[in-house]
Amino acid sequence: MSVTELRPRTPAETALVQLAEAAGSDEDARRGAIEALRREGLPHRRVEAWHYTDLRGLMGRRLGKGEAVEAIAANAPGDTGSVLSPLVAGSTVVDLDMAENANAPAGVTIAASSDLADWHESPNHLDRPVDTVRLVNAAFGARAATITVAEKADLTAPVELRSGIGAKAHSAVKVNVGGGAKAVFVERIEGSGSPAPSSAVSHLTIGDGAEVLWVIDQAKDETAAHLGQLNVSVGADATFKLFLLNAGGSLVRQEVHVVTAGEGSEIVMRGVNLLKTEQHVDVTTTLRHTFANTTATETFRNVLMGGHGVFQGMIKVAREAQKTDAKMACNTLLLSEDGDFSAKPELEIFADDVQCGHGATAGEINPDHLFYLMSRGIPGPQAKALLVKAFVDELVEELEVEEALGAALTAKIDAWLDASH
């Protein structure tokens, strides 16, 4: 009998461990993670990093019960790959449970690996001694891969990363972009509701002077749970751009943790969260400025027809990171009384010559704008739709991406808006 068993597990925690155990045959690689998951359980609202997303309470009804465990065990060895058409014509599509170097374009190597993210520590400064997203990822036996982009490579087409489905919907990818290279990655997180959550943990290392746009296109089925974590290191004079689109899922936590690894790095983060009905979507970010002369702008816009949205944004500026210029904003449009949004911006500044700011707003459609459009003959519902679209499309424009990719992202947003008002 174990003496570390401090409290009884909730049915959700028990079910999650059973699902993890059933998710594959390579027990040894993930036994430690399963044990830790059994021991630590799921975080709850008294764990500060999960205060607004009480996984212990929220995960329960998103998990399958008894027969689901059998189903996932039966399904585990040979799932068929997901069928997704590329977001942008001409993209390189990489299945993360793939053969080595499959589809790799020139300048890129792709290798399967057994290198899972280290769950013994968390980039969340207010989390427990284990990292929940990484722990779930490892416990479910994430498919690990390493992608390397050669120095000075200029990838013309986006590289789209797709997880598997079912038991294979867990990926751990390490992406190393060489100095001076240019690349666009698109994480496609799609798929129907599964009895178990899906997860994706990515580590992106951007070499000096390189430019990377990373797009997370989360469009899970409305019953699905997903835990995502992107860890980024931005080299000297390198540029990291993020576009995060949450337009699906029942329970979603997407973390983005960025640290500078040299002077002059530039970080541009934009995100759109579209919520309705009973969705719970949490975006948690940390920006750690550890070198001088780095800049960051971070803007999230949220449209709520219902559901619960969360934004936690931390900017940390180290003592030596003088001349940091970092701005963070979270703007929410509440279109229904059924929706709510919690925003928690945090600044922790130890340098004395910096410009940092944050702002959070929440409100309805500006009645002056609505009146102006209607006074030109645009009917109320159409005028509202135009204003909501403008509110979020602006972020896509600010990103200044290739036209085809921008159009694809805008089309995804439009499809959600058209289906939701």
Partner: protein, 251 residues
């Protein structure tokens, strides 16, 4: 065209009465100027005509071509031919000007049961009107009114008016913030639209605008009522004597 009868209106939220029995008739093709000191209710009148729901009509009626428009929302009024040129046109980030123009024109056409404008014809019309108002097409690639100067915003209002071809144009202090050159361009744009089927309600503080847009009638609005009506000479008289004389006579 327009018949305002004993119109009483108040601010919906706090109940302050602004209009206290306005009576005004504007004939087809007439250009009527509304003048009056600050706080007399001029802008309120323009908002109420276009259907802004911040105001509540408590008494009286507005007849447009013989029918009450009080139950119509702003979009319905616009589609039936009412246009308000704003004193302070709004900047709307994220809405491309051309998209806005096309959406508005086609929404009105749809409401009137007309076929939608195809893109080439739409572009042709915009180019023609923009050229007359000396508006650079590059400016129209920006989001609606965003980064436009005061004069550009006013010209953009007249551009919208020209494209939407309204029957009743309400112009709220169109001259404010314009230098003399911009004022001439705007006035020329308005004069080009004058016709026997189109009426104008020109709201202004100053007689200056009326040198360029010459009105058929002039009405003085004071404390929520029309206290004097006359010809364009009344505007000149106001310019010379101020409002005090007329207010004194009416009291």
């Amino acid at each position: 065209m327009l018949e305002i009868k004993n119109l009483h209106a108040r601010v919906a939220e706090e109940g302050t009465e602004i209009l206290k029995g306005v009576d005004l008739t504007v004939q087809d093709g007439e250009v009527a100027a509304i003048m009056g000191p600050n706080g007399s209710g001029k802008s309120t009148l323009s908002y109420i005509l276009s259907g802004r729901d911040d105001y509540e009509v408590t008494e009286g009626d507005i007849l447009y071509n013989g029918e009450s428009i009080l139950e119509m929302d702003p979009a319905e009024r616009a589609a039936s031919g009412v246009f308000l040129a704003f004193q302070y046109p709004l900047e709307i980030p994220g809405v491309a000007t051309m998209t806005f123009l096309k959406t508005a024109m086609n929404a009105q056409r749809k409401a009137r049961g007309e076929a939608e404008l195809m893109t080439p014809e739409f572009i042709r019309r915009v180019k023609a009107s923009a050229a007359e108002l000396k508006i650079d097409m590059e400016m129209l690639k920006r989001p609606l009114n965003v980064g436009f100067s005061g004069g550009e915003k006013k010209r953009a209002e007249i551009l919208q008016m020209a494209l939407l071809e309204p029957k009743l144009c309400v112009m709220d202090e169109t001259d404010s913030g314009l230098d003399i050159d911009a004022l001439k361009i705007v006035a020329d744009g308005v004069n080009a639209l004058r016709s026997a089927e189109r009426s104008f309600l020109v709201i202004t503080h100053y007689q200056r605008l009326l040198d360029y847009i010459v009105p058929d009638t002039v009405h003085v609005l004071y404390k929520g009522r029309i206290i004097k009506s006359g010809t364009k000479d009344l505007a000149l008289q106001l310019e010379n004597e101020g409002y005090a004389q007329i207010i004194g006579e009416a009291a």
